[in-house]
Subunit: 409 residues, 2 copies
């Protein structure tokens, strides 16, 4: 993915150096600025102090064309990013009256007066461009130095993203940037995807395709650059869809649970779940999507076998004969979920570990089934990994089994 | 938390600079090495190349006493951390015969021959101490330079942690390190904890107490150092327990779901859940704990009101009169969960947003109830934040309501 312009990231904040916090703005910057041709070659977290921030920017500008700095623009005494840049480059801070008035008005609306120390949010580095912040108080600032660009953005992720999207992407994308298209796949392993798309590398170039795997989902990142970028990207997408199309559940910002709910909604159907080893995680993934209620009814967490019988009418004889972890029980659970009052039902039963495995049914064995008004499908899987991984894989494979069953072809 | 020895972290790996990956070894190092008196003042991710790695180590050694380097010790051509350190400090790499033999034996057990390039895992920087890696192939290396210590560890988290715990913590903890004790609290807000512990600051020192809040949980980190550290820490713990003890659900590595299940087990009880807005997330948190089945029965995701009536016997009249989001319905759901066959039941109903709020019941309104053989308790909460945050707060507050109801006093 190299070959474009080099960028670096600095997350400012002593709290990001503790044992419980990670900077995530760098992921956002990496993803969004890739479409402008920037590749990040270094990331740092530094403390809230003048010399740490100044030194990091100086060192990184020597190696890259753009340094993105996140955080340290707020109203408290800890927030010293503006001052650090001013000091490092010998540029004055200029208090901008229009910004100061907007700040005072904002504080007044919240019933508070504007403290002197918070007025620093109206200070702009001499020569920097002001990047308005519609969601917060401190604006971003973009400074062109002899050595490259320094971009200062607030650390609050929503403000960070909004300023980047509103003020910089439209401008920078024009400049010979790289266009990206992500195909999201599920219900398939990375090695299978790799094998099927490999013949396309010769045609489009290996370096323009990235495969990312994440517990039951695989992303294919396609990229194109230059004057024909849009047309080339469309051609790539078509060629890749021809070989992996049936595994694709969405594009770019799409998520698997939202895609499943959209298909159900399109059919006018609802789904109910019956979960054993996943213990509510499948339902929780669906409920995580705003507005899930029009396509999600609810369900049963039949962790104990007695609930499989009692609430899902799984016959005791089937439990006895086939065992709780079996295709027969998964099917009966899916049918039982359907009978709760939904057009579709999903059943999952498996062994998440660490205990409970046997030679015949080792840890990672999962049976799942989907019932719709038109069909009944089941899958028998053997997942690798620990308890958390087996459960996450099971949720994603079950969502995808449902997606394939309800998708309008 | 400052005042000890300064440390820095370098995560090596181009994959850590992509949009989908974060280094997490630094969190582990920060937590474990705090007990040895080290405070991390900077973290970096750098690409797999000689000059990026060498430059980072050189720059950081100028500012800290210990630089921990994670990754780049494996068998592929990308793995060049050893070479980078050798080059940076002008120290030869020495191939150690005993390590090479152990490598060859390990590859042979896997039915493979040892490729030439993988033999580099037996290369040790001249003067460095070898830190054996019982879980993997490449050992760690500890190099004392005139300017401070450089610690090289494999990037695989389990290997990284094992070498740190086995070879370094026992040795470094002795050297006037800092002892840490974490009290985990739930069902309480950070500001309430702050208010109640503030009077203790004068006695023990403000800098020895850190409060961390995380969506329904609050951690109190206590620290002590010097020859009396253990006795002082015990005294601090006692004093803090006297003011916040009833909110404490566990210590150090304890988690809230595991603590709840342990209390239930102690009583010989099981719990069943009835979830609406949390949609299975409460059950999923409990099922995430290995061996949950002896204290967790299962439950119902009553997302649609019809399931509240059908599976939990919530009276239609109560739903009509009080609304689905009400204390009465939460109680009826808890009782309904109990009737599934468990000694205890939990009911949760609320408005996670973004839609569905009203003036009387705004987004974030959540009612929850716990029924045990001895009592029935309920709580009415108004949580801040978006859909994901409201749901996570609801899960943690409900787990804690259950914890308080089943704890043996």
């Amino acid at each position: 993915m190299h070959g474009g312009k080099r960028a670096a990231f600095v997350a400012v904040g002593s709290e990001l150096l503790r044992a419980d916090r990670l900077d995530t703005n760098s992921l956002l910057a990496t993803r969004l600025l890739a479409s402008c041709g920037y590749t990040f070659v270094e990331k740092r977290c530094v403390e809230d102090n003048l010399s740490a921030i100044g030194t990091a920017i100086r060192e990184l500008l020597g190696r890259t064309e753009l340094v993105v700095v996140s955080g340290g623009l707020g109203p408290t005494a800890d927030d010293v990013t503006r001052e650090a840049v001013s000091h490092e480059f010998g540029l004055e801070l200029v208090r901008v009256a229009a910004l100061e008035e907007a700040l005072a008005a904002r504080y007044q609306r919240l019933g508070r007066s504007l403290p002197e120390i918070a007025r620093r949010m109206a200070d702009v580095i001499s020569g920097a461009e002001i990047l308005p912040n519609p969601q917060g108080t401190a604006p971003g600032q973009l400074l062109a130095t002899g050595n490259g660009l320094v971009l200062l953005l607030p650390g609050v992720p929503s403000e960070f993203e909004t300023i980047l999207r509103t003020h910089l992407l439209p401008r920078w994308r024009g400049q010979g940037g790289v266009l990206l298209r992500t195909l999201h796949l599920a219900g398939v392993y990375e090695s299978q995807v790799e094998e099927r798309v490999a013949p396309l590398y010769a045609r489009f170039g290996r370096e323009r395709v990235t495969i990312l795997a994440a517990r039951g989902r695989v992303d294919l990142l396609l990229q194109a650059s230059g004057p024909q970028a849009a047309a080339e990207l469309a051609e790539m997408e078509e060629a890749f869809l021809a070989v992996v199309g049936e595994d694709v559940f969405g594009y770019d910002e799409d998520t698997l649970p939202a895609a499943v709910l959209a298909h159900l909604r399109g059919r006018g159907w609802r789904v109910a779940v019956a979960e054993s080893c996943t213990g509510g995680a499948l339902a929780s993934a669906l409920v995580g999507v705003p507005g899930a209620s029009d396509a999600f009814l609810g369900g049963v967490i039949a962790y104990d076998n007695c609930l499989k019988q009692q609430l899902l009418a799984v016959p005791a004889e089937v439990l006895e004969r086939c065992g709780a972890v079996s295709g027969e029980v998964a099917e009966a659970m899916a049918r039982g979920a359907q009978r709760l009052g939904a057009e579709c039902g999903v059943g999952i039963t498996g062994i998440a570990g660490p205990a409970g495995g046997s030679e015949e049914k080792p840890v990672g064995t999962v049976h799942m089934a989907v019932a719709t008004p038109q069909l009944l499908r089941q899958a028998h899987l053997r997942f690798p990994g620990d308890r958390a991984m087996v459960r996450e894989l099971a949720v994603n494979f079950a969502l995808d089994l449902l997606r394939r069953a309800v998708e309008v072809p």
